[in-house]
């Protein structure tokens, strides 16, 4: 009887050691998991502090004649050296009357394909699913639920600056309603 108790005691002491070791492993795993999760979330966490958007120059306003819509390109503000061409982003600049501008994202508001401007019919058309927009970026027809994404702009020393740096997507625009001034 006494012997069985001792065996049981021995067993439970061993089992306790197993449990303590498992607990220790759990603690270490949690300590390791935190930095790993932080590493994985870096594309999101980064946004909080400086944000991705910056004011970028599209060049002299003289490049964009009044009453016309022209293609412009800019270099993404936070490129990596191995980004290659992908850090160059295109956008459409509409000079309404010489002093007022509209700068549209190249991405269709439906699924992000590059829209093309047709000055003859004053329409933007999308090659993917046939979305069309009027010259002021409002939706004309097709699957998009909304008009083209617009960058906020300002003019300084004759140069056109836009606030850009993040790919405009339908979800992002929806979340920003009533928030930031930027539409994109």
């Amino acid at each position: 009887m006494i012997q069985t108790e001792t065996t049981q005691n021995k067993m439970s002491r061993r089992m306790m050691l197993v449990r303590v070791s498992l607990l220790l492993n759990g603690v270490v795993a949690a300590m390791l998991a935190l930095p790993i999760v932080r590493y994985l979330l870096s594309p999101i966490v980064r946004e909080r502090k400086p944000g991705y958007d910056s004011w970028l120059s599209l060049g002299q306003t003289a490049q964009f004649p009044a009453g016309q819509t022209r293609l412009a390109t800019y270099r993404n503000p936070h490129p990596n050296s191995w980004d290659g061409d992908t850090a160059d982003i295109a956008c459409w600049v509409r000079n309404i009357d010489g002093s007022k501008f509209q700068v549209f994202a190249i991405n269709c508001a439906h699924l992000g394909c590059p829209v093309r401007w047709f000055p003859q019919s004053n329409l933007f058309m999308c090659p993917c699913h046939g979305g069309a927009y009027y010259q002021d970026g409002s939706r004309a027809s097709g699957p998009p639920e909304r008009g083209l994404f617009e960058y906020s702009y300002r003019i300084e020393a004759g140069q056109l600056f836009i606030s850009a740096g993040e790919m405009p997507t339908p979800g992002r625009a929806a979340n920003n309603i009533g928030g930031k001034a930027t539409c994109a």
Binding site: I106, L111, M125, C128, M167, P170
Partner: protein
């Protein structure tokens, strides 16, 4: 020979797997299951082997960097001896993989192989299907060209629509705020490490269960699966009417493996590698991005969903589809296996096949997309211009210059986004044409601000000539009453 046996014995003394291998080879399968219908699972395994080997070979050259990937693909295609062939094998292997996996799945479904006790084998198979599609999508991204770039844009746009967390999920997907270097690197990690690791593990489980539970017996109408009796019945079947897997069944698997590898090689030699297409420079916007063949149905579906239903269907649809597949063996885990007694199963397969086939076919020629160059490259057919007044010819000019041709076809040339206009004068009167042009509607932009009254007038005059000569154009019957009988009816 004796030497080989000696080495074999020496190894087996240490590894101790000879018994397991002999058991696996000799395990008894139902005689009717050694059928040509049962070769698709092993066919998929064969292609997986090919994909692993060719994938490693490609990784010897490929550079997973947004700036260099496209160049390294060009090098593979043109500068490395037979680099094009390895790329073609990998690309065609992927197409064959999707096809064989789908056939395997349909066959398992129609033969009732997902029923008790093979529910978990089916569930693991569903995850294998998802991983296969995941490999196809990430692989398409690694072929880093224009289609890959804008395909990622489509992926990001869909992801962004997830409520609340959408924009964050986009940044996780892209590895940053835009599609760039970090994006390609993480898709490389997914395609080469994460998904293959899971895939091989799940394939192992899948195979283990096939061995432990036995291959599905040939479904006989009237032979009902019951949880209480099935295992015993299967045991009897295999012991009384079973045959050892080797050589009774295996030769068909082997022959099919050789056939499928040969088919892939023939396609690779004859058709060559896929792309890469234009370089992934987002400032080159003269592009019509399109997904690879197996995602064309989705691409087509996205153009037909009404805008308001699109987001819910996109986000909830796949979840429902996966839940249905996972629930299948629990809902229908017992009962009839033979497709001859399961009309709803057969009809479901037919319905899905017809739907996917139709959408894929539509995705091939994208009737919903404007033909971006039609206005400048497709002239109006001469027979439509003969005998027209100068006003009507001016209207034809407006038709071309204002890109109407991009969406409307004449004589089957031009866009198919809008209706063909060859007989439009039969459908719409002059007044209705004016209204349609100015106000748009029915998925047509309003041209009111973009056309001068004179241009509209000329355009409508031209459109009113578009009817067969033996049929009178549409007219408004109230016109003579309101305007007097002197009103001349249009040509």
């Amino acid at each position: 020979m004796r030497m080989i046996y000696a080495i074999g014995d020496w190894l087996d003394q240490r590894l101790q797997i000879g018994g397991a291998i002999r058991e696996t080879m000799g395990h008894r399968v139902p005689r009717e299951s050694a059928s040509w219908f049962y070769v698709f699972g092993s066919g998929a395994l064969t292609i997986l082997g090919l994909q692993v080997v060719t994938g490693i070979l490609l990784a010897l050259i490929y550079v997973p960097s947004a700036g260099e990937a496209w160049n390294s693909l060009q090098t593979l295609n043109h500068s490395i001896a037979l680099g094009w062939f390895i790329r073609a094998l990998h690309g065609w292997g992927s197409n064959f993989m999707i096809a064989v996996v789908l056939i395997h799945m349909v066959e398992v479904f129609l033969f009732g192989a997902y029923k008790f006790p093979r529910e978990l084998t089916w569930i693991v198979g569903v995850f294998l299907l998802l991983m296969t599609l995941g490999m196809a999508f990430t692989g398409q991204v690694l072929r880093f060209d224009q289609d890959a770039y804008w395909g990622l844009g489509i992926g990001a746009s869909i992801t962004s629509r997830v409520p609340i967390i959408g924009p964050w999920a986009v940044k996780l997907l892209l590895g940053g705020p835009i599609i760039a270097g970090a994006t390609l690197s993480r898709f490389f990690a997914l395609h080469v490490f994460v998904i293959p690791g899971l895939l091989l593990t799940f394939v192992g489980l899948h195979l283990l269960m096939v061995l432990k539970l036995g291959i599905n017996e040939w479904p006989m109408p009237g032979r009902i699966v019951r949880r209480a009796t099935y295992l015993q019945e299967y045991q009897e079947l295999t012991s009384k009417h079973g045959e050892p897997f080797v050589p009774y069944a295996v030769w068909k698997d082997l022959l099919f493996a050789a056939f499928i590898l040969l088919s892939i090689a023939v396609c690779a030699v004859y058709f060559g590698p896929f792309g890469p297409g234009g370089q992934p420079d987002p400032t080159i916007i003269q592009t019509s991005p399109k997904p690879d063949f197996f995602f064309l149905w989705l691409y087509a579906l996205l153009s037909f969903l009404p805008p308001s239903a699109e987001t819910p269907i996109l986000l909830i649809g796949p979840a429902i589809g996966i839940i249905v597949l996972l629930a299948l063996p629990f809902v229908a885990g017992e009962g009839e296996k033979s497709w001859r007694r399961r009309p709803i199963a057969v009809l479901s397969i037919l319905l899905i096949a017809v739907a996917l086939g139709t959408l894929t076919h539509l995705g091939e020629y994208t009737p919903w997309s404007p033909l971006m160059n039609a206005w400048s490259s497709e002239p109006i057919p001469p027979q439509y211009l003969q005998g027209l007044t100068s006003l009507e010819r001016q209207g034809a000019l407006v038709f071309q210059a204002k890109q109407c041709h991009n969406c409307h076809s004449l004589d089957e040339k031009g866009g198919q986004r809008g209706p063909a206009l060859d007989r439009v004068a039969l459908r719409l009167t002059g007044d209705q044409l004016v209204r349609q042009v100015i106000q748009g509607g029915g998925n047509m932009p309003a041209y009111g601000k973009n056309l001068s009254p004179a241009e509209t007038y000329a355009l409508v005059a031209f459109l009113q000539t578009l009817h067969p000569s033996n049929q009178r154009p549409a007219r408004d019957a109230s016109h003579p009453l309101v305007l007097g009988a002197s009103e001349v009816s249009p040509r």
